[in-house]
């Protein structure tokens, strides 16, 4: 795959890749995309929908409630005074 494309995808994903990684991934991604070629032979889909099995019109009422203790949710995260620690920002 084109190195330019790999560089652009990496930038969109906020990944800093080394020269060596760029070379490696251009080959890996080529292989991955080849697998998807099989889809070119799949029959065209009729109608619209976002799922092979229709999921439609599932709505919930606007009723607030909390089921899980938030301390439990945060227990395995790096936190500081209740905040979740994020990456360094430039």
């Amino acid at each position: 795959m084109d190195r330019d494309i790999i560089e652009r995808v990496a930038r969109a994903a906020h990944l800093a890749l080394t020269e060596e990684e760029l070379t490696r991934y251009s080959k890996d991604l080529d292989d991955i995309l080849d697998y998807f070629k099989v889809l070119d032979e799949a029959p065209d889909c009729e109608g619209i929908g976002v799922n092979p099995i229709e999921v439609a019109d599932i709505l919930r009422e606007d009723e607030p409630h909390m089921d899980i203790d938030t301390d439990r949710l945060l227990r395995d995260m790096k936190t500081y005074e209740g905040y979740v620690r994020g990456p360094r920002l430039s």
Binding site: V55, L59, T70, L73
Partner: protein, 445 residues
Amino acid sequence: MKIGLEVHVQLPTESKMFCSCPTTDAEAPNTHVCPTCLGMPGSRPVLNKQAVIYGIMLAKMLNCSIDDTTWFSRKTYFYPDMSKSVQITQYDHPIGGAGMYYLNGKTPIRITRIHLEEDPGKTKRVGDLSSLVDYNRSGIPLAEIVTEPDLKTPAQAREFLGQLIADIRHVIDLPGDGERSIRCDCNLSVGVERCEVKNVTGLKNVERALTFEMIRQTKILKSGGKIVRETRRFDEERGVTISVRKKELESDYGYIDEPDLGIFHIKNMVDSIHIKESPLNMTLRLVKQYGIDENTARQLVSTSTKIAEIFEELAKTTDVQTAISWTTGMISANWKAFEMRDESHEHIIELVKTFKDGNMTDTECNLELKSFMTGTSVESVKNASADLEVIINKFLDGNPEIVEDSRKNDKAANRVIGHVMKETGGSYSSADIVAATKKLISARF
């Protein structure tokens, strides 16, 4: 110059868009969160019906086309405030398509679309450049309204936004601090390429940010430079826009359909939802239907659409002139006090009708109205207004030239009002003082 806006409005639901976490202010960070809005693997979003209802209401307000079928998409979003690395938004089947909105009821501004999406959390930068994230806001429902680049100047963009916010607030009952919950991305180009200023809050800042961009781009072009398409942010303190990053291209977002939510058929909902008339439309209708002056109509509606409704009732039961003079006068003057009381406005209508039928004098009707609307006895209203008149008359005795000046210039009365305000230390409302001053001056003509 071309300006287009992307306006983000937080929808006033009680629970978040895809989970049941409350949307109210939390006392501490990350306390209104669950696996869904924290983006944990295995969690699954379920759409809040009320968010769809608000979306449809706004789409109707903007005269958008609304299809029966709508669905959501995942947009690649690699920032820590959206922990699942995608934002659920709408891409190719938004809730509302091409619409039209009229600035001041005249200038058409094309609406590209309106779609629903989830708000990210909030990131706080700390000293060593690391970030701290609060996900309480993550998953709050937003409607994004996108306009075509039909706005011509920064001032017009501000005017548009002001009117839009007032209409939105009215149609979906947005709380009073609604402006705070409205954020705007501003696109501006003076030549070919445009720049986007992200995340501007408040009407004044939108105008400031756009004005700065206009000058910046004009200078670059004049000196023979080229505008680079990019995303910028607005520094409120310094009043400047700063380059943040090269603008992502649509293809970088890698939109895919959101399979967890599925699709939605909304025709029945669309048919059953009726929206309240917007303040602007009401103003225009009053002008047309009752032949009243546009400024008067605007004044009535902006004080309160309820007063405008009282005007309509009075216009039908008495006559337009009577309705105007009482609603813009005594009724507007005491409206704030009346709103605090949990009373029906029936009695206001009755009092004005009694006056109109000749069963009450002008002065009596004034007293009764004030007494009813403020919830004080007729006796004390009478005493207070007598006291007020004494003060005003004394001042007019000492400054007879004011009466003379008032014949030519309406503003001459302002001296009296200023004096009385100062002397009484705010115990009378300015509306009362104005009314009494006008009455006493014209009595001396």
